[in-house]
């Protein structure tokens, strides 16, 4: 599975990469907002942090959904502040994962959304 992880925090990027690579996935990490969209073609799923510098999440998700080849890309949004789940789902996220997350929940989401 090809997985894109977008987060401005390097600790999160590297540990998430570690977990996913242990499971045999190919991981692309992106730490800058403007690099996210170009990194997405060919990906099977995007794990997207909700707060990155310069990120307007609603506009960002809309832009992804507006591209024909990405319209159906599964997107999981990492959220550090609850309650925000309903709002994030309404913006176009397929699932929300609160920080800190359990790695079995991450695995389960990746499995379910890419099945």
């Amino acid at each position: 599975m090809k997985i894109a992880v977008a987060d401005d925090n390097h600790d999160i990027l590297e540990t998430t990469r570690l977990v996913l690579e242990l499971d045999g996935h190919d991981v692309v990490t992106v730490s800058r907002t403007e690099q996210i969209l170009p990194a997405l073609p060919g990906m099977d799923i995007l794990l997207q942090d909700m707060n990155m510098p310069g990120l307007d999440l609603a506009a960002h998700l809309k832009a992804i959904r507006g591209q024909p080849d990405l319209a159906r890309l599964p997107i999981v949004v990492f959220s550090a502040e609850l309650p925000a789940e309903e709002e994030l789902l309404a913006m176009g996220a397929d699932a929300v994962l609160g920080k800190p997350f359990e790695i079995r929940d991450l695995r389960e989401l990746v499995r379910r959304l890419t099945a």
Binding site: D11, E14, T15, V19, I103
Partner: protein, 358 residues
């Protein structure tokens, strides 16, 4: 009387208008007296005190000049509005600014027997120091809020990373010896504690800063919601949740959830591990109708009741996990709603937290 006073002090009592004026002129503030003339304008019959002398506005200096003639446009318009109010008998305390100085006015209408305002009297104090100190305090508070938010928010990412790493190591536990596994478990607990602290700090930050959105809230339903989450932590534990039905309030729903999470969470924590009864009721108090969260746990020393709501104060020792900001968060939320919160406890007779929501 005068004779008696003279006898006791050895000096005559000064009682004439001139004597009183002499005293007033030594005061740093201003005492004033003004009236409305037939032309509808406001004139002063008295304006004395340190400030009047400083600004060249003593009675003698301003005699015959109306309010509009004494001050530049902006100042005069603002003053006029307040003084007109006072002449309508609706005097309110107000503060105006001239340059970088702030002056608080305390006007008071004088009525004749028919209920008409004949004069407005009062005094004016230079409150520049007070206003500046207040501004400084507000700035310090904003910085503190920003710090709390940044500290709690920014710590979450490294903690999440640490939490993930510990889980990865746990999954490799087949290759770890018993001692290492034990250290790992301790590490996991520590990470959990730190997460609880950052979460509590985030809550405190929200309680201080988020906009207050009042709407009808079913407190009973909210309490059941919070209790269900607590019970999930230890489904086997026997706690009787006793919530009075139909407790409705006008309040901020998210903030009230934080209040109940903290109060019910404390009750749950301090009655553990045995069975307990935890209730939410509405009862009469000296402050009017109050909501009461009560448990039948060991209670705390009543001597610490007042300091419970200060951040990082803890009635119980380190044997109980906690951030030390939970009750201070509760206090902040209730205060922002215009209510008060207090605690009652005796060492053997459980604890109750009372709060009002006007």
């Amino acid at each position: 009387m005068a004779e008696a006073a003279k006898a006791s002090t050895g000096r005559p009592i000064a009682g004439t208008a001139d004597d009183i004026l002499e005293v007033v002129r030594t005061l740093p503030d201003v005492l004033f007296r003004c009236y409305k003339a037939d032309d509808g304008k406001i004139y002063w019959s008295l304006n004395e005190g340190g400030l009047a002398e400083q600004f060249g506005l003593t009675t003698k200096q301003i005699q015959g000049k109306s309010l509009e003639n004494l001050f530049p446009g902006g100042t005069s318009d603002a003053l006029k509005e307040h003084f007109e109010e006072a002449f309508r008998g609706e005097s309110t305390i107000f503060t105006n600014q001239i340059g970088d100085r702030h002056f608080r006015h305390f006007p008071q209408a004088i009525f004749d027997d028919d209920g008409n305002v004949t004069e407005v009297v009062g005094y004016i104090a230079d409150v520049t120091d007070l206003v500046n100190t207040q501004a400084e305090l507000e700035r310090a508070n904003r910085e503190l809020d920003a710090f709390v938010h940044a500290a709690s928010h920014d710590l979450r990412n490294p903690l999440t990373a640490l939490h993930t790493l510990v889980q990865v190591m746990r999954e490799q536990s087949a290759s770890l010896d018993a001692k290492t596994l034990q250290y790992l478990e301790k590490m996991e607990d520590t990470v959990d504690s730190m997460q609880a602290i950052t979460a509590a700090l985030l809550q405190l930050s929200r309680a201080r800063n988020s906009d207050l959105v009042r709407a009808p809230v079913d407190l009973t339903a909210l309490a059941h919601d919070v209790a269900t989450t607590l019970q999930l932590e230890d489904p086997g534990r026997k706690v009787r949740w006793d919530f009075q039905p139909d407790l409705h309030v006008e309040a901020d729903r998210d903030l009230m959830r934080i209040v109940l999470q903290n109060l019910l969470g404390n009750a749950w924590k301090y009655t553990a591990p045995g069975p307990a009864t935890i209730s939410v009721t509405q009862e009469e108090s000296e402050q009017g109708p109050a909501f009461v969260v009560r448990d039948d746990g060991p209670g705390f020393d009543p001597a610490v009741a007042a300091s419970l709501f200060e951040p990082f104060r803890r009635a119980h020792g380190e044997e109980f996990q906690g951030s030390g900001v939970g009750l201070s968060t509760v206090e902040r939320v209730i205060r922002r709603h215009g209510g008060t919160v207090w605690a009652q406890s005796s060492q053997d007779d459980g604890t109750s937290f009372w709060f009002t929501l006007p």
